[in-house]
């Protein structure tokens, strides 16, 4: 099986500070991969590197296309949707406008009604808030909106940055259930960054463990779940 995303020797810099020290991994199409790691390990930076929001060295190839020479706006047009850290809500705009913007970088134009119907089926609460300013939504609803906005692109690869952050456990479970459904119904490949290791291991089929800008361990989630070091450090039992 060829890789949908192939990252080789990726280094990333904030000014002179090096945040990634040669990260390599690959993802096959259709799967859910998660990157685990502590604060500051470089999880968010990895996603930002793929979306070209940070200066990098090394290679990132998406479905045969090199991403390094591209800018963020063009990466989106290849079908890579990014629900960023902090959700990136357009707080002044309505829920519907947020969703319309999600489809801005889409290749195929045409009617959005079908897409609205699809995301509202996943997130009925957004349908009832359609005309409301997005800034008035609760944290959980805004996270749902971030995922829904990303889905409006009809992405091939969905990058999710800590969708569980700051949310009530029930809301988090709901969002993760929907992520699984999105992956299975539409075949959207997902790259998930999470601090909540237990949840991420449940959802993902493949795991990378990042420590201070390097991949220190990788494997199928069933295997890593049983690993003693992971269990102690990230699952806490």
């Amino acid at each position: 099986m060829t890789a949908l995303l192939e990252v080789r020797d990726l280094e990333a810099y904030y000014g002179r500070t090096k945040a990634l020290h040669g990260v390599s991994f690959s993802m096959t199409a259709g799967g859910i991969t998660t990157i685990l790691g502590a604060n500051g390990a470089g999880k968010t930076t990895t996603l930002r590197a793929i979306s070209r929001m940070v200066r990098t060295a090394g290679s990132i190839v998406f479905d045969g296309t090199s991403l390094e020479p591209r800018v963020t706006e063009d990466v989106v047009r290849l079908g890579i949707a990014h629900a960023p850290e902090g959700r990136g809500t357009f707080v002044h705009l309505t829920v519907e406008e947020n969703l319309r913007l999600g489809a801005w970088g889409r290749r195929e134009r045409g009617s959005l009604e079908e897409d609205f119907a699809r995301v509202f089926a996943y997130f009925p609460v957004l349908a009832s808030r359609r005309r409301q300013a997005a800034g008035t939504l609760s944290g959980g609803e805004q996270q749902m909106l971030a995922v829904a906005r990303a889905l409006m692109l009809r992405p091939r690869l969905l990058l999710l940055d800590e969708p569980s952050l700051g949310l009530a456990p029930m809301v988090v479970r709901e969002i993760f259930r929907i992520l699984r459904a999105v992956n299975q119904d539409a075949g959207v490949t997902i790259l998930l960054v999470e601090q909540n290791a237990a949840l991420a291991l449940d959802l993902a089929d493949h795991v990378f463990l990042l420590e201070t800008g390097r991949v220190v361990m990788e494997g199928p989630s069933e295997v890593l779940r049983k690993d003693d070091a992971i269990r102690r450090a990230y699952l806490g039992y």
């Binding site: 979306s51 929001m53 800018v71 963020t72 706006e73 989106v76 047009r77 990014h82 960023p84 990136g88 809500t89 357009f90 707080v91 002044h92 705009l93 406008e97 319309r100 913007l101 999600g102 801005w104 970088g105 889409r106 906005r149 692109l153």
Partner: protein, 293 residues
Amino acid sequence: MEVFIQQVVSGLATGGIYAALALALVMIYQATDVVNFAQGEMAMFATYICWSMLNAGVPYWGAFLGTLVLAFLGGIVVERVVIRPVENAPILSIVIVTLGLLVIFNSVAGWIWTYVQKPFPSPFPSKPLKAGNVFFSAHDIGEIVVTLLVLLCIWLFFKFTPLGLAMRAAAHNPVSSRLVGIRVGWMLALGWGLAAVFGAVAGMMIAPVLTLEPNLMGGVQIYAFAGATLGGFTSPGGAVLGGFIVGVVENLVGTYVSFIGTELKFTVALAMIIVVLLVKPTGLFGISVVKRV
């Protein structure tokens, strides 16, 4: 009473000019945090272009529309060529750049068209309109109609078109906008283009009243600042309303407060700016923006 109504209507007419320019200032401020001090001079320059077209025999509305197109392109060029390179510079540097633009536009206009005042035609009949016992200048009424039409168009554009939506998104949240594929740099350039269009409308509408010269918009820009400050630099609708209010207040104070008259009218604008900044710095409809430094 007739005098009062006449003064209010004529205040609304000039207020519309202030409103258009205030809107231009606020649009650019919202998108880039920059106050474009050259906005008025760009408008003056556009008005000269219209004058040149009229002189070359182009019919009025043709020259009007042609000027709007050129102003739009000119605004984009200014953003791309002058503002873009200093985009990430400290705010003060960008302000200085816009002040530099002000001087350049002013001198170049003087160099091309000289400082001699030129009459500028009004597209509206010179015969006053009569409603009951009150006479209105047709140009005043036409000015109000044109301004309101422009404002309506721009509101429809921002509210109902995908491009308008993308421009609003780019202004409020550039990072998220890039992540959905919006080319933020071009949206800002389009914003400069649109702002230049409002300015051009203001210039062409006020020139018949003030006569055309390179310092045409100097005073107007101060009033536009007063309008934007009054309505709030963070609120486009507020800035428009602020512009109209400033126009009316300016006229009424000039008429009814005898020691102010026409000579001191100008101070009224400055006084309004100071009072607003002291009492409610965000303006009537503005919101305070908290920034992490």
